[in-house]
């Protein structure tokens, strides 16, 4: 187990290094003089001096990377020359909104996927299973940006339910009820994609598990169907479910960007798109770095949890 964790940690470190090099190099994809593009309208000699000190743009590329990396490791993501605020503080303000949104969506997705997958697995190819199968397959083909647009069209515009439309977001601290109301449609949108994935993965694993001998033994002992499902079949069937939940995080963030953008929820996605449109490249770079590293660390965490659920994996 320990060897496995150490090996994974080394791999994680390697990936983070690659991510940092990739994020660093983004600046040099900019056409022309990167300093001029980053500074935009704030291209004064004074600002230029600050930027050069921050990024070491007059130095060789390798030196630039280490200057940049040292700053990042000290929590210094630079100052946005467009909004005159520190990139780190902007990210710190936006990040909790994404976490709340993702958490809400995952609660919804699991709450729907687990019982429905169990219901389907009880009678594979039965009526309920077929309906759920066709339904989940159809949902799979509806992109999140269409789901959110249609939800807004029907719920907020046609039905006129308050606090669900664009720009109705208020922070959790201000009014938690309005906050939850404004996050309802985005959370549902994100939950739908995850639900389809979790439902399909858990269903097929449950069907496989239910054919194992220990289930037959449990059944012959007269244990109730519900208890067999939850206590005997669920845990061995949940490995792939956890795996897909980990992998799903990346896609979830991208869908999150879209719904935030549409509803003007000031999370990382909205901030990112706003920064791209304002040519605020240091902010874009900072968000890309934080999000990428976050996704990789979350994946690592899920790997770890899978090991606890099924210790056989680390012994491979």
């Amino acid at each position: 187990m320990l060897r496995y964790v150490v090996r994974r940690l080394v791999m994680l470190l390697g990936i983070v290094v690659v991510i940092s090099i990739g994020s660093f190099y983004l600046i040099h994809l900019l056409p022309g003089d990167p300093a001029a593009v980053i500074l935009g309208t704030g291209d004064t000699p004074a600002n230029r001096a600050i930027l050069y000190k921050q990024l070491g743009l007059d130095r060789p590329m390798v030196v630039q990377y280490f200057i940049w990396l040292r700053n990042i490791l000290h929590g210094n993501f630079g100052i946005s020359f467009i909004s005159q605020t520190s990139v780190a503080s902007t990210i710190r303000a936006a990040l909790p909104i994404d976490l709340e949104l993702i958490l809400l969506s995952q609660i919804l997705a699991f709450a729907a996927a687990i019982p429905l997958a169990m219901r389907s697995a009880r009678k594979p190819d039965g009526f309920v299973d077929r309906i759920l199968g066709a339904g989940s397959f159809t949902l799979l083909s509806i992109p999140p940006f269409i789901i959110i647009v249609l939800l807004v069209l029907v719920i907020s515009i046609k039905l006129g339910i308050p606090n669900t439309g664009p720009s109705s977001y208020v922070s959790l601290g201000t009014d938690w009820i309005v906050n939850l109301e404004s996050l309802t449609l985005p959370a549902i949108t994100l939950a739908i994609g995850s639900f389809v994935l979790y439902y399909r993965v858990l269903r097929s694993d449950l069907i496989a598990t239910l054919q194992e001998e220990f289930i037959t033994v449990a059944r012959s002992k007269g244990i109730s169907r519900r208890r067999i499902m939850w206590r005997h079949a669920f845990r061995p069937s949940s490995v792939a479910l956890l795996g897909s939940a980990g992998v799903n995080i990346g896609g979830l963030l991208a869908s999150g960007f879209v719904v935030e953008y549409l509803l003007a929820i000031p999370g990382l996605g909205y901030t990112l798109i706003a920064a791209i449109n304002a040519s605020d490249y240091l902010l874009v770079q900072g968000i890309v770095l934080v999000v990428s590293v976050g996704v990789v660390v979350i994946n690592f965490f899920f790997d770890f949890v899978i090991n606890i659920v099924d210790p056989r994996i680390s012994r491979e």
Binding site: I19, S141, I142, I249, L262, N277, Q285, V288, S292, V295
Partner: protein, 288 residues
């Protein structure tokens, strides 16, 4: 040689597979229609997708405008047909790059094994851990000005590790089969084994994954267009049509519904065909 063995019933007969069904062919037909319309959009008797007719703004479906007009008086049907060009070009182009690089590498790695496999697989897994969508957004936002070609290139390269993994796993399952070993014993060259023995057998898995891959890329392009990171307006694409229609959604819901419907049907057909092919060829051991 193989015929005599076959007659003796020594060779394994493939089990009867699930039939494709009529819905499969409906989907194939619909996709074919979409692709033909996209290719011949210039020749078809369509209104110019950029022509703004201010006499009919936000009109519903009618004989003159089959699916109505948008807030600038442009014909929605024509824009959907022309918009499909972007989606199809990005989907097919990106997957061509992904498969062009990922598939040969995956086959080689699975067949050769050894150090080549170890190195390439490690590199690919590092990139696989990278959130590809975030990387695509990041590169496209910095690498300005954006063009269709850049979008295809970036998404295509981002898909390489995924294609590599699928093809490598599929090839590994087949590379140890008896007929491959038999070919090797007979002294067939590596090149011949790869092309004549392995390729035809991983093709069904490849095609099935290719279709689902195209669906994923088309969705991604839609999301990018929605975020304003794909081709620039006024060039129509399904994603930016949906995005532009948001502002007039309450007056003219058709404007949202039709491009959304076009996109969803397109994706549904791709996913359905991919899924059917996969169960038809019974390739359950390879997780896509």
């Amino acid at each position: 040689m193989s015929e005599t063995l076959d007659d003796l019933g020594v060779l394994e007969r493939p089990e009867a597979s699930t039939p494709l069904g009529w819905l499969f062919w409906v989907c194939v037909g619909w996709l074919g229609l979409n692709v033909l319309a996209a290719i011949f959009a210039n020749v078809l008797p369509l209104v110019d997708p950029l022509y703004q007719n201010y006499n009919v703004v936000n009109a519903g479906p009618s004989l003159h405008h089959l699916l109505g007009t948008d807030d600038l008086g442009r014909d929605i049907f024509s824009r959907i047909v022309f918009g499909s060009r972007v989606s199809i070009a990005v989907g097919v182009g990106a997957m061509a790059i992904g498969f062009g690089i990922g598939a040969p590498l995956g086959m080689m790695a699975a067949y050769r094994r050894g150090r080549f496999d170890t190195i390439v697989t490690t590199v690919m897994y590092v990139f696989l851990a990278f959130p590809a969508i975030v990387a695509v957004i990041a590169v496209l936002s910095f690498w300005t000005p954006r063009s269709l070609l850049k979008i295809i290139l970036v998404i295509g390269l981002a898909s390489v590790p995924l294609v590599y993994r699928v093809i490598r796993t599929a090839t590994m399952a087949i590379a140890t089969k008896d007929y491959v070993i038999a070919a090797k014993v007979q002294g067939a060259t590596d090149r011949r084994i790869l092309i004549k023995e392995l390729l035809p057998n991983i093709a069904p898995i490849g095609v099935s994954f290719l279709l689902i891959g195209i669906a994923t890329v088309v969705t991604l392009e839609g999301a990018l267009a929605f975020l304003g990171l794909s081709v620039n307006p006024p060039t129509p694409s399904w994603g930016n049509m949906i995005n532009e229609s948001r502002t007039v959604m309450s007056q003219n819901p058709w404007l949202v519904l039709f491009p959304s419907l076009a996109l969803c049907l397109f994706l549904l057909c791709l996913n359905f065909i991919g899924d059917r092919l996969r169960s038809h060829f019974d390739v359950t051991e390879v997780k896509l």
